[in-house]
Every structure is written in structure tokens, then in C-alpha cells.
Amino acid sequence: MAETASRTRMKDYRAHERLPSQQEIELEKLPSLHENPLGSMKLSIKKCLIVATALGLGLLPARTWTSADGTKTFEGKLQSYDAAEGKVSVTVRNGRILTFSADKLSEADRTFLTEEAARRGGTTQNRAAMEEFSLTDIGKAFTKMQILEGDAFTPHEFESVPEYFILYYSASW
């Protein structure tokens, strides 16, 4: 499958970016998927600034998050993870961004966050090389790549610049 076979596309993101509508929330007050709708939550909210070490993590698919004690779950897309402050921001179904302490999450979720931060850190190191490559004749030729996602082609970018490219000239006929 394209999703699994091909390397992950690099999504545009900006480190140190301040996220809109930051809110801080106690995880204990997050709803269980099997309990309350998000709209009925009682939120303890205060404004929160993302510190300079924040990592913007781009458009990852939604995942089910589990509380540290394993009793509550909720779905949402990881918006950012501030490794230095231990703060996680997750976009939930109604579009609201929830920010809370990573230690409120299960060990599996914390491992996921650590791996995502490491992966994106590596991507950052590749950014300069990718931008330089995009200015070359070969790099320009590859700016229009697409890949099958579901039933449609979608734009595709290299996660990092390969050293070699296999050009496979072919057609359906």
C-alpha cells in the first residue's frame, strides 16, 4: 500500500510556532469516548504560551490517546509537543486545541511523542539540504511528484533527499 510502502511525506511545519487558541486542560477532565461528548466538558482553561523549544508536528492522523492510569481515552490529532516543558497540544474533533502535561498520558502515548519529536528533529536537519536540492535542475523536476493515497493522487515530497533516484519510465498501455 502506498501509505505503508512509501516513505512518509514531509509535511510543512514551523518549529517555535505559536499555536492559535492555546488552552491548557487537565487530562482528568477530558472526556472518554464512551462517556461525554466534547461539548459537555467542564474545562479548566488558562492561556498557555508555547516556549521556544516547541516542536510543531504537522498534520498527523488522529489517534486514540489514553490517560496514564488507562481509564480514559479520547481521539485527536497531535498538534505539537513541547519536549522541554512536557506539554502536548492535541486537536480534538470539534477543532479545539487542548494543551496538557505529557505525564497525564499513558506510557505508549509518551513513547509515541518521544519518537515523533526525534523523527521531526531529524527532518529539521534535512530541511536545509532539501531546500538546496529543490533549486537544482533535478530537484525542480521532482517538485510535481504525486503518490496514490486511497483512490487519488496527492502531492508527494521527499522526507529527506535520496542520493540516487531510479527513474522508471512506464505506462499503462
Binding site: M1, A2, T4, A5, S6, R7, F133, T136, D137, I138, K140, A141, F142, K144, M145, Q146, I147, L148, D151, A152, F153, H156, F158, S160, V161, P162, E163, Y164, F165, I166, L167, Y168, Y169, S170, A171, S172, W173
Partner: protein
């Protein structure tokens, strides 16, 4: 022209795990709909560039045969040609 299942398998085995190399399908289909149908039908896992995006680029200079396979480096130098030599080379890229 259908992609041999063996090519998909070889891609999964030898290209996907190797960050030094990527395969790009240079579509010679006359229209994007035909290319999309082929990709859907055969679940082609590699990135592709459609014909209308290729014609103005230097990718047209490497081959005018279908099917054909060329290995180039970042500077655009041809390193190997033909599936056998290309695969022999990429297996040395660890």
C-alpha cells in the same frame, strides 16, 4: 503495460528501507486518468510524475523508451541503466 508484481515486491524490499534511493515513476500515459487507473488497479506504491509535468523538464532526456529504468545521482548523472544493473547498484547502497 502492467507493473510486474515482482517490481512492487522488489521496491518494498530494496528501495523502501534504503534512504539513499527512491524510485519515481515517470508516467508516459497520455492522460492522468489512465495513469491513476493503473496506479489504483495495481496499487503502485511509488511516487509518480505525470506526463504533462514531465514534458518541460530534463526527465525527458534520460529515456524515450517504455518501459525503461535509469539510475541517476543527485547531480543528474546517469549511474546505471536497465533493471538488472540498476538493482545491482542499489543493493550496494547501504
Amino acid at each position: 503495460m502492467q507493473a510486474a508484481p515482482q517490481l512492487v515486491e522488489s521496491y518494498q524490499k530494496d528501495v523502501v528501507p534504503n534512504p539513499k534511493v527512491e524510485m519515481i515513476h515517470i508516467s508516459r500515459d497520455r492522460n492522468n486518468a489512465a495513469a491513476l487507473k493503473w496506479a489504483r488497479d495495481d496499487k503502485l506504491p511509488w511516487p509518480a510524475i505525470m506526463k504533462d509535468q514531465i514534458d518541460a523538464s530534463l526527465l525527458t532526456h534520460y529515456s524515450n523508451r517504455v518501459p525503461s529504468m535509469i539510475l541517476i545521482d543527485r547531480e543528474g548523472n546517469k549511474v546505471a541503466e536497465g533493471k538488472g544493473p540498476v538493482w545491482d547498484k542499489i543493493k550496494t547502497l547501504k
